[in-house]
Symmetry: C2
Subunit: 195 residues, 2 copies
């Protein structure tokens, strides 16, 4: 691990982050339990397995003072009426925040805490969203044509907890309705967590 | 302190950060011991006391999981041949990093550690500089006409130590030379710290 300072290009000539250690590509098949419309999901999967989102990350040591960061790219698309989105996660250490800074596109950062409260903040270029400690978060691309590109920064000791949100789902779903996006109750939400 | 998530505009219609808690404006008079050319400094001060840089900050609780952040704006200008710059600082907790993401302008992030090593990374729009833990850092605007605007993020428990760098100075100074910038040895640097 490089312990020297460094500079990196965000959105280099190939539209990625320079200096990245990992590049994760999430195909539709990896998001089976996240979308509401399973018929539309299966139909889409048969026609191919499109990449829903990608993450370029600069890893850092897993200590409180480090700031791992990266680029999240959610491609445009829908499963039925539901917009393409990331899996979403809590941090393992609940008392850790995250910053999302939007570089391109139009989307939402959907957040919810363990008390069952939710907030959706809009992502547009030059908007920053502060995910306060204890809030799970998911990015959703509500554009029909453009990538949603965000720069994210989180504390090195945060850790990722995907399973809590996979068990209970999100309270809300972002759907296309009459040419615009709408926040609706999600049929995937479990008010009581399955053990 | 708001413990809910929130969204903020970076560079709002008034070229500032929305949701900020503090707005610090540093006039030339507050940077007396930082510039090398004291004759030019005094002459400039007599003609007025220009604002050298400004910081809009969103404060957060001083814990490891929080991410205080803000906007740093270094105005264009020089004291003699030395470009306008921030005071520069270490973090009180040395094991804490900081991220600078350039939004506008052209500058350098000058960094040095306690072993006397230094690094200068260029700041241009879409470039991110990672200040590794243990490195003091100062922003310098090398444009003759444009503000240098950066978004910064640091861990909540970092703390600011201005006095170490005030005692010893930086090893290098950024000067205009033949129409461009040059990194030169700083006459302000003390190889041995004064106690």
């Amino acid at each position: 691990m490089n312990m020297q300072p460094f500079g990196a290009e965000i959105l280099d000539s190939e539209n990625r982050l320079s200096h990245f250690n990992t590049h994760v590509r999430r195909p539709l098949s990896s998001l089976r339990d996240h979308f509401a419309d399973q018929t539309a999901f299966s139909r889409m999967l048969q026609a191919g397995d499109p990449i829903v989102y990608e993450v370029y990350e600069v890893h850092r040591p897993a200590t409180a003072g480090e700031l791992p960061h990266g680029l999240s790219i959610v491609h445009p698309g829908r499963v039925g009426d539901e917009y393409f989105m990331t899996k979403g996660h809590f941090h393992t250490v609940r008392g850790t925040a995250e910053i999302y800074y939007c570089l391109k596109g139009h989307g939402l950062l959907l957040m919810q805490n363990e008390a069952g409260e939710w907030v959706a903040e809009e992502l547009r270029p030059r908007r920053l969203v502060y995910v306060a400690p204890g809030w799970a978060h998911r990015s959703i691309n509500v554009s029909e044509t453009e990538d949603l590109v965000t720069l994210f920064v989180y504390p090195g000791h945060a850790g990722h907890d995907y399973s809590s949100i996979e068990r209970r789902g999100f309270l809300k779903s972002i759907q296309r309705d009459d040419g615009t996006f709408r926040v609706v109750d999600s049929p995937k939400w479990c008010a009581v967590a399955e053990k």
